[in-house]
C-alpha cells in the first residue's frame, strides 16, 4: 500500500480525517 504522506493530497486528506476523529473523541470523551 502506498504511503499517503508521499503525496500532498494524501497528506491533506489524512489531516482532515484525523481532525474528524479527534473532534469526535473530544466531543464524546473529554470533559
Amino acid at each position: 500500500m502506498k504511503n499517503p504522506l508521499d503525496s500532498l493530497w494524501g497528506t491533506v486528506i489524512s489531516g482532515v480525517v484525523l481532525t474528524v476523529v479527534l473532534y469526535v473523541f473530544a466531543k464524546n470523551f473529554l470533559g
Binding site: T11, V12, G15, Y23, L30, G31
Partner: protein
Amino acid sequence: MENIDIVSALSRWIHFMAGIMWIGLLYYFNFVQVAALKNAGADGTAAGITKHVAPRALLFFRWAAVLTWISGAALLGPYFMDAFLLRNGMGPIGIGAWLGTIMLFNVWVLIWPNQKKILGMVSASDDEKSKARRVAFLASRTNTMLSIPMLFFMATGMSHSALFSL
C-alpha cells in the same frame, strides 16, 4: 489592565507571530520547496536552493517552533497542566497543545538532525544521506498532516465551547 492580562495578551501575540512563521515555513517546505527541488535537480540549479534558501528557512523554522511552544505554554499559564492532562474543560485546547508538542519534537529530533546531513552541515555517507532524506521528508509531511487538526483545536479549543458541548 491587570498584569496577568498583559502577559496573556503578549503571549497570544507572540504565539500567533511565531506560529505563522513556523507553520508558514512548514507549508513552504511541503507545498513549494520539495517540488521545486525536484525540478531544480533536473536542470542542475538545486544548489541555489540547498545552499542559500534551505539553511536560512530551516534556521527561522526551528527557532520559531521553540518560540511558538514557549509562548503557547505562557498563554496557557495556570491551565498548562489541565490542558496537557485533557481535564477541566481544557481537553480540546489540550489536544492542540499535544499536537503542537509532537510537531516540535519532530522538528528538533527528526527534521533538523537529518537536514544537517542532507545539506552537508555534518558529514554523512551517500547511504546515510539517502536515509536522512526519507526520514526528514516523512517527518515534515507528518507535521503538515498534524498541523490540520492542531490548527482546528487551537482555533476552536478555547473559545468555541459549544462546538464541544462544554
